[in-house]
């Protein structure tokens, strides 16, 4: 199973992963058009800083995800084919139980659409956008088995 | 709520305010702080600033403080409230940008563009705006999808009688399609970009001139605009931030905006409607304007927009009357069983039987019957013929009775317009406009010369009888006057008292008109006033009139004298045809009509005078009135009457020449007409006085006015 890993020492806090993430989730996928889309595209990764260390925070796609257990509508589910925790936004009713239980703060509220917003690990891409967009390769995709 | 629109408006206001500030400070740097600023032909200098901010700003050095104050209202949080304030700041910015175009006597607009619309035009439109001839004002900003679409939209508005004010490419689009624009067509092509502010200036002046709202009473003005000015904005084509800001400015004034663009709407205020036909409907609904359209089966567009249309000789297919052929029009009350409702008869040749350019005889005979019809209403209805025929595109009508003169354009003819359509128009309009007094209408149109001559005699007998009736109709001979509070929709405290010998100050409502109007709409603006006990026979004051006045003016007025301008004179709404002002040095009065744009001996132009007379307040020494009141036997009877007139503009003087001469003869004033000074004599008291002395003007010998 592939997973996205972070090499914290390499993150310079440029936030290009955020931009790439929002872009890949935009209609146009073009920075110059995306900023004119309404609602604005949303990023699922957030670069935070703790002391001198930057941290690109995203969903870890837990194996036994609390957000799935807490979901009352069945929207949050495990996509067994690719091993991601996915949110079927059509089913999401906006109760925010998932937000309440995610220990990583990786599920947010999509303010425009009032549904849960989280990393989908770019199912249609060869490589997640945040990884592709990272200019220092702080984010990497690896086989989980190789790392763990 | 659309944050996007609000954000765009706020950013647009930043752009506009900043641009205005740059231009303003540069102008001050270049020309000096003391450079005068103000639009031409207005009493209000810069109406947006005057009305909403309150300052009189005679020089450009006065403007930065105003701009700063409203610029300070620009806030970033994209709420509707902030967006409206930003819109307001944008209006100020636009006002300054436009005002700077006019400094140093420049005239920045050339035809087809109008730029600032003068007070005279505003006042001229006063009555049609209040009597719903013009049921609303559309401000079109931008460019329609195609020029053809522009015409569709324009016609939708025109056929409803809506005044159309245009900014940006819509103007060229309509010109491309051969539409006629201008004051006479109730279609104002203002110009581009910030010229839009002149629509706002127009609306705000309605509040100043008719509403009597003091400069700077911002809240009152906003309320007035929202409640009484039936304007809306049609925003066409691609929007930009400055346009959105300006449109929010319109919303701030209470004018809804309908756009053909896709936007996230602000409910009821900024809505999208891509279909141009529905767009007008939507705007009218939002503004709560109700228009009943009478569908008249004629091949040309019909609406008040065409009232001012002129047809030149070379454009006409056929004419009737004038000098070249006999013509007359007559409305007669008939017994019910003699009128076949809807019958239209044409006697004689049709206009397709004659060559282009021909003059044909024409007799228009309208027979009406109705249970509440009175013979007194005949002339009232008859005068409507003039308007109704003019409303048809390609038809032109002037004068009345047996001196009327009509033309049908080649264009209208080509579209299939025929004599019989006059009948369709008159039938439909009489039925729809006077349902309370008219039950049956039949129209006979005669082009056969012999028959025209024959019927002309019938008509003339009728005219003579009416004249005799009118002559006997004096203030003393009736016990009931009528009110006219039509203009209260604009000037809430103003009350016109219409008496047989004093026509309404707008010149449009005579005692008979008012009487008929009361029959048509018993709860309408023309209410009977039983004169009651007479308090002041000379000055013309009655108990019943005072009582009515007090209630109708919402307790702002206690008493009114009908025959003097010195004490409790009649108030004015703002629609007056003329203003009379006392000239103490000459011991007389001067009269200026609203068409006259020059200086007058009292030191004020019409526009400035109008500013101090309008709005429903009594201003002793000054008074608005109708033209024909000058010829009334009751013309300032308490102050000495006609003999007091020492000055009037030449045009007015000539217009009334015959009447003045006749009245002077009656009064035993010899050679009086030539003793009245005009602008060729002078426009100051100093210039006029020697003339009066030389001519031996009777006023000089009369008791002191003061």
């Amino acid at each position: 199973m592939k997973e996205v890993f972070v090499r914290l020492a390499r993150c310079v806090g440029c936030r290009q992963c955020e931009i790439s993430c929002a872009l890949v989730h935009s209609e146009s996928r073009d920075i110059h058009q995306a900023v004119w889309e309404r609602p604005l595209p949303r990023q699922r990764v957030r670069v935070t800083r703790e002391g001198s260390e930057y941290y690109p925070l995203r969903c870890f796609h837990c194996e036994d995800a609390p957000c799935i257990g807490a979901c009352i509508s069945g929207a949050m589910h495990l996509d067994e084919d690719v091993g991601t925790v996915a949110c079927d936004t059509a089913r999401c009713v906006g109760c925010w139980m998932c937000v309440m239980v995610c220990p990583y703060g990786s599920v947010r509220i999509h303010e425009g659409q009032k549904v849960a917003l989280k990393c989908d690990r770019c199912p249609d891409e060869d490589e997640p956008a945040c990884v592709r967009g990272c200019p220092t390769r702080a984010l990497l995709v690896k086989e989980r088995a190789l790392v763990v | 709520m659309s944050r996007e629109l609000c954000k765009a408006a706020i950013e647009g206001s930043i752009i506009a305010a900043s641009y205005a500030e740059i231009l303003l400070n540069q102008a001050i740097r270049r020309y000096g702080e003391d450079t005068p600023v103000g639009y031409p032909d207005t009493a209000y200098r810069l109406p947006v600033i005057r009305s909403l901010s309150g300052e009189d700003t005679p020089t450009i050095g006065d403007l930065p403080a105003v701009l700063n104050r409203f610029k300070a209202n620009i806030r970033h949080e994209p709420t509707l409230e902030n967006a409206k304030l930003a819109g307001e700041a944008t209006l100020f910015a636009a006002e300054i940008i436009e005002a700077l175009k006019y400094i140093n006597g420049r005239n920045p607009y050339r035809a087809p563009y109008m730029g600032f619309v003068s007070d005279a035009v505003l006042r001229k439109l006063g009555v049609p705006l209040v009597d719903d001839t013009i049921p609303g004002v559309a401000v079109i900003i931008g460019k329609a999808r195609t020029s053809k679409d522009a015409v569709t939209l324009f016609k939708e508005l025109q056929k409803r009688g809506i005044l159309v004010i245009m900014v940006n490419d819509i103007i060229e689009q309509l010109l491309e399609e051969g539409m006629r624009l201008g004051v006479d067509y109730m279609a104002f092509p203002l110009g581009h970009f910030t010229a839009a502010i002149h629509a706002v200036n127009f609306a705000l002046r309605a509040g100043l001139a008719f509403g009597g709202i003091a400069p700077g009473k911002r809240e009152e003005m906003l309320k007035y605009q929202a409640e009484r000015v039936d304007a809306f904005v049609l925003a066409l084509g691609e929007l930009d931030e400055v346009r959105i800001a300006a449109e929010l400015g319109a919303i701030h004034l209470g004018f809804p905006v309908v756009t053909d663009q896709e936007v996230e709407e602000i409910p009821d205020l900024f809505v999208a409607e891509p279909d141009y036909v529905k767009m007008v409907q939507r705007a009218l609904e939002l503004r709560n304007i109700k228009i009943k359209i009478v569908d008249i089966p004629i091949p040309v567009t019909f609406g008040p927009a065409f009232e001012g249309e002129r047809i030149r000789k070379e454009d006409m297919h056929v004419e009737f009357g004038g000098q070249r052929s006999p013509a007359f029009e007559l409305v007669r009350m008939m017994p019910m069983d003699e009128v076949e409702d809807g019958k239209i008869t044409v006697i004689g040749p049709e206009i397709d039987e004659v060559a282009t350019g021909t003059a044909m005889p024409l007799g228009i005979m309208v027979d009406v019957a109705g249970r509440k019809m009175q013979e007194d209403f005949e002339p009232v209805l008859e005068r409507r013929i003039h308007y109704f025929i003019n409303y048809a595109e390609g038809c032109w009508h002037i004068a009345q009775r047996d001196i009327c003169w009509m033309r049908i354009s080649r264009d209208a003819f080509a579209k299939g317009f025929r004599i019989r359509h006059f009948g369709e128009i008159l039938y439909a309009k009489f039925k729809s406009d006077f349902p309370a007094i008219v039950d049956r209408v039949q129209v006979t149109l005669i082009t056969d010369e012999a028959q025209v001559h024959e019927q002309l005699e019938v008509a003339r007998r009728k005219y003579a009888a009416r004249d005799a009736r009118l002559a006997g109709l004096t203030d003393e001979s009736v016990d009931t006057f009528y009110s006219c509070t039509l203009c209260q929709s604009f000037a809430p405290n103003h009350v016109c008292i219409v008496a047989p010998e004093r026509i309404g100050l707008c010149g449009a409502v005579s005692w008979l008109d008012a009487k008929a109007s009361y029959e048509i709409t018993p709860t309408g603006p023309n209410q009977p006033i039983v004169k009651g006990e007479c308090i002041e026979p000379v000055k013309g004051q009655w108990v019943g009139v005072n009582e009515f006045l007090k209630v109708a003016s919402h307790n702002t007025l206690e008493a009114v004298n009908l025959y003097t301008l010195l004490e409790n004179p009649m108030t004015s709404c703002g629609c007056f045809e003329c203003i009379m002002a006392i000239l103490p040095e000459a011991n007389g009065v001067m009269i200026v009509n609203r068409e006259f744009g020059g200086m007058t001996p009292c030191g004020m132009k019409f526009s400035t005078l109008a500013g101090s007379v309008g709005g429903g307040v009594q201003t002793p020494g000054f008074m608005g009135h109708g033209r024909s009141y000058i010829l009334s036997r009751k013309f300032i009877a308490a102050d000495g009457g006609l003999a007091r007139i020492v000055w009037m503009p030449q045009e007015l003087k000539e217009f009334l020449k015959e009447g003045i001469t006749r009245r002077a003869e009656e009064l035993g004033l010899e050679g009086f007409y030539d003793k009245i000074a005009d602008e060729t004599v002078g426009t100051t008291v100093e210039e006029v006085l020697p003339f009066l002395e030389e001519k031996g003007h009777p006023a000089l010998a009369m008791p002191s006015l003061m």
């Binding site: 260390e53 609390p66 509508s73 009713v93 937000v99 239980v101 703060g105 763990v148 | -």
Partner: protein, 436 residues
Amino acid sequence: MKHVIIGGSAAGMSCAETLRRLDPKCDITVISDEARPFYSRCLTSYYIAGKIGERDMLLRDPGFYEARRLNLVMGKKAVLVDPRKKAVVLDDGSEIPYDRLLLATGGRPKLPDIPGAGKRGVFTLRTWDDAVAISERAKTARKAVVVGGGLIGMKVAGALRDAGLEVRVVVASGRVLSQMLDDEAAAIARRLLEAHGFAVDTRCDVVEIEGDDEVRQVRLQDGRRVDADLVVIGKGVDPEVGLAEACGARVGRGIIVDEHLKTSVPDIYAAGDAAEAYDIAWGEPRVNAMWTAATSQGQVAAHNMAGIPTRYPGSVGMNSIDICGVPFISMGVVSPRRDRDGDGLVELARRRAGNWYRKVVLKDRVICGAVFAGVVDKAGVVLALIRARARRDDAPERILADDFTYATFMDVIDEKGRYFQEGGKRNVQRIMQGGY
């Protein structure tokens, strides 16, 4: 091995599913007194609001149960458990033997003694059937009164409003959501409700429901009469402990269980809204009637029933609600009372413009509760802190300043975020995440 589960909602179904995963061969029977397949009880209010349809209520596809060979006994009520015979007796007299039994009997709405509560148009809301009845009534009703300002009350109030009704909420206590929110957050909620057109009466109660056969109006404690053609009573839920009591299990407020979720009767387990299990925030057993707790208790019970001893780490009472578009989340100890809850409890709160409010409650300098209003995005990180019972002295300040992320507390929550450090500077470590 025969497993019998009484109750077919979150706890029961998660237990059944987990059992099947752990033991493909065993026999699993689920007894439910509702004739509906597994659906989400929490969605009933959304159903009433018309936001979701029949299909969305169901949490499993039709073929799910067969594929997992679960015996479903639907629409039948278990009336007795005989621990000696190791059998469950149903209301039709039939018996179902068991080796291991799970009591996931859930709760039952409290029905206060209001005269007229039996009239047509008066409802409680617990089941899908209740929701169907309310939503049917809502089609013609215009004015609704919701009795009770708890979570159910608020959700049903919002749903009825969405369905186009005028809604009045009558709350006995001094604030709405008194169990879930503290005074300040409740005040925000109330202001929002009123701004959106709800009528809210606090410190008030309905004393009589009037009308001939159908409800026409309600009489309030203060004497006012208000029109109503639909009344929903939402005064809370009691754990359904009847079967447990009858078979001799220890019962407190709920069915008392040990750390393996076992009752005092051998081979009988309990989970979900009926169970009184360990609460981490309070440090003592409590009934935490929440979907998420029920799910994880069902899973833990399943492990123990299947013979894999598994400790239940405990739950934290928490809830989330969206009021007029503004999210509220609370967890753990929300509004402690010194007299009742003892010393050592400190509350720190901060209010900002708009609807932003946040509070943390500390016991002995460890966070044991929190309230969020307006911005709730990182609430889960605080929950993780509560669960970890970790002491980080800068935590309250950082949380209130909104100056924290998971990264701030990574060291005390878990180290999962340290995945893959280059050059071996830090250890590559993988953290198992426990169920909640």
